[in-house]
């Protein structure tokens, strides 16, 4: 059957002549879908970020505790740990937070060593890209994009003066910056030679902040953990799973706000749908009656209504999607974003990574476009079922 372009034209024109009503529905639909899509984009981007972060984490992190507080680990424990069956490597880490009072933010300072394999690939890539030995000589450091931005805002273009644990100034030159793929973690990071890190934190040379363990077979983790616990009862073993649960708890807590937003948007949308389903105005019914009397079949009327509602709703869906993408990924989701990442206000801000969850978009489409079209079609179908004579009377 030949496609009837006039029906499509009539549908378009029909939307235009309904002017204010069309605009109002279009605006409301766009706004609601925009809100829902933005929520989904932000939560998916953060979930993705967290998942990638967890992927990069070491299987086991060992911390030493004293009176319930974390204290430094003696390096002499490295060898005995390596002797445990199934342990592939033990990497001592020297790291900590440095509070930059002027900007009111914390930087994560991580010590790196030219002779030491980094505990995660992204960090290793950065280490490989720079001559760490030269860093030691020059007193250089490599900073995350977020750190660089904050330092520049505070007029530190080429160097930064750390205040060490014993109150002295330590000038470190900025020799480079990096945009790691895991911005949530890497954005606030400063990489500098271990020697400098020891100095800034005032740590003894025979200690590390914590130890990172790699295992040969992940199935053996629980056995290795129990052996470590036996050997060093003062050490806490944090597994990748523990960190995942901890991140998830923060995320779930924050997503409560979003759930409320989601529920309000969905409720408003379904109110519109309910209103639509409850019937057509007398004017709309009369128009259907006129068209039937002039020889339009029910099929013609429903097709026209379908085009009309599809153009309106799909147009709103596409616009809302484009706007929410721009809002989240280009403008970095002002307002909404702070609800989710509020827990890291002491850290430099990070950009939401571009991550689109296609099944969620399909779900959003299915929950909006067909539902709206249905809400237009059902009352139109009811009116078109009536005798034209009855509608026009």
């Amino acid at each position: 059957m030949k496609f009837n372009i006039y029906l499509l034209e009539f549908a378009l024109f029909s939307l235009m002549r309904k002017g204010a009503k069309t605009l109002f529905v279009f605006f409301i639909l766009t706004f609601l879908i925009f809100l829902l899509a933005s929520v989904l984009f932000i939560s998916d981007a953060i979930k993705h970020e967290l998942n990638v972060s967890i992927e990069h984490l070491p299987e086991l992190t060992l911390q030493r505790l004293q009176a319930g507080k974390q204290i430094n680990v003696p390096l002499k424990r490295v060898e005995p740990l390596l002797e445990i069956e199934g342990v592939a490597s033990v990497i001592p880490r020297v790291w900590g937070y440095y509070y930059f009072k002027v900007a009111g933010v914390n930087f994560s300072v991580v010590g790196i060593d030219a002779f030491e394999q980094s505990y995660k690939a992204s960090l290793q890539n950065v280490v490989d890209a720079y001559d760490v030995k030269a860093l030691e000589k020059e007193g250089g450091m490599i900073v995350g994009a977020g750190v660089k931005k904050i330092l520049e805002e505070n007029y530190y273009q080429d160097f930064f003066n750390f205040v060490t644990a014993d109150g002295k100034w330590k000038r470190m030159h900025i020799v480079g910056s990096f945009n790691a793929d895991v911005s949530l973690q890497a954005n606030d990071m400063i990489l500098l030679p271990k020697k400098s890190a020891y100095e800034i934190f005032g740590m003894a040379k025979d200690e590390a902040t914590d130890l990172v363990l790699k295992v040969k077979n992940p199935e053996e983790i629980s056995t290795i953990v129990s052996k470590i616990n036996q050997k060093y009862p003062d050490m806490r073993v944090v597994t990748k799973e523990d960190i995942r649960v901890s991140y998830q708890n923060i995320f779930d807590y924050k997503s409560g706000f979003f759930l409320s937003l989601f529920v309000v948007s969905a409720f408003t949308f379904f109110m519109i749908i309910y209103d639509k389903l409850s019937g057509l105005s007398s004017e709309e019914k009369r128009e259907i009656g006129i068209l039937k009397a002039l020889g339009w079949s029910m099929d013609d009327i429903l097709k026209e209504r379908f085009y009309e509602s599809f153009i309106l709703c799909f147009g709103a869906f596409l616009l809302a999607l484009a706007l929410s993408m721009a809002y989240v990924f280009f403008f970095d989701a002002p307002v909404l974003r702070s609800l989710f990442v509020g827990y890291s206000t002491l850290k430099p801000s990070f950009e939401l990574p571009f991550y689109v969850n296609i099944p969620m978009i399909v779900l959003l489409f299915l929950l909006s476009v067909p539902v709206y079209i249905g809400s237009v079609m059902i009352p139109s179908w009811r009116a078109a079922m009536l005798d034209a004579d009855e509608v026009l009377r």
């Binding site: 009837n4 009369r286 002039l294 339009w296 005798d387 026009l392």
Partner: protein
Amino acid sequence: MIVLKNVYKCYETEAQRIDALRDISLHVKAGECVLLKGASGSGKSTILSLIAGLSKPTTGDVVVDGKRISKLMEPFSAHFRRENIGFIFQRYHLIPTLSVRDNIALPLIPENLTAQVMEKRIQEVMQLCAISHKASALCRHLSGGEQQRVAIARALVNEPKIIIADEPTANLDAVLSEQFIETMHDLKKRGVTLLIATHDSQFFNLPFVDQQIELKNGVMIS
């Protein structure tokens, strides 16, 4: 050409049952002009609706051009209407937010004709009804007479064999009523079958009227 056989039509609501037509039988030949007379509520409009296939009789048969339209299913009755019937409603039933041209084009939209054929037909009927100068005006801005000319043009645009007019002069002054009668006369000369429901006495003595049927409370009295 048009045959009604023992037609009954009743409208039922929860509160009451109204017998709009009772045992109506009539026969109209092709090209005839038939007047349906009677007071308001006598059943004139109901007969016209049944012939146009806008509603179905409760019992009895309506046959137009050999087709039992009282038994036609919805898509076929719509197609039948499009092919055969031009309806001029008492209150014109134009879509006020559409232009004159677009209102006239409405019966042609489901036909899916080529743009040229469609435009040719629209221009012809607009000229015939002397409404071309208002082609782009919105119908809600037209006078009563102009609206009626649009309604006539819309009824003619699909080149129907039958024109049905329900109280066509009820909202017109004497001069416009005269013009309408002349238009009907012209159509009759072209061989179009005319069915006009009216209680306007101007129609009663017209020479081109072939039959006059009088109704009272849903019953044919003459």
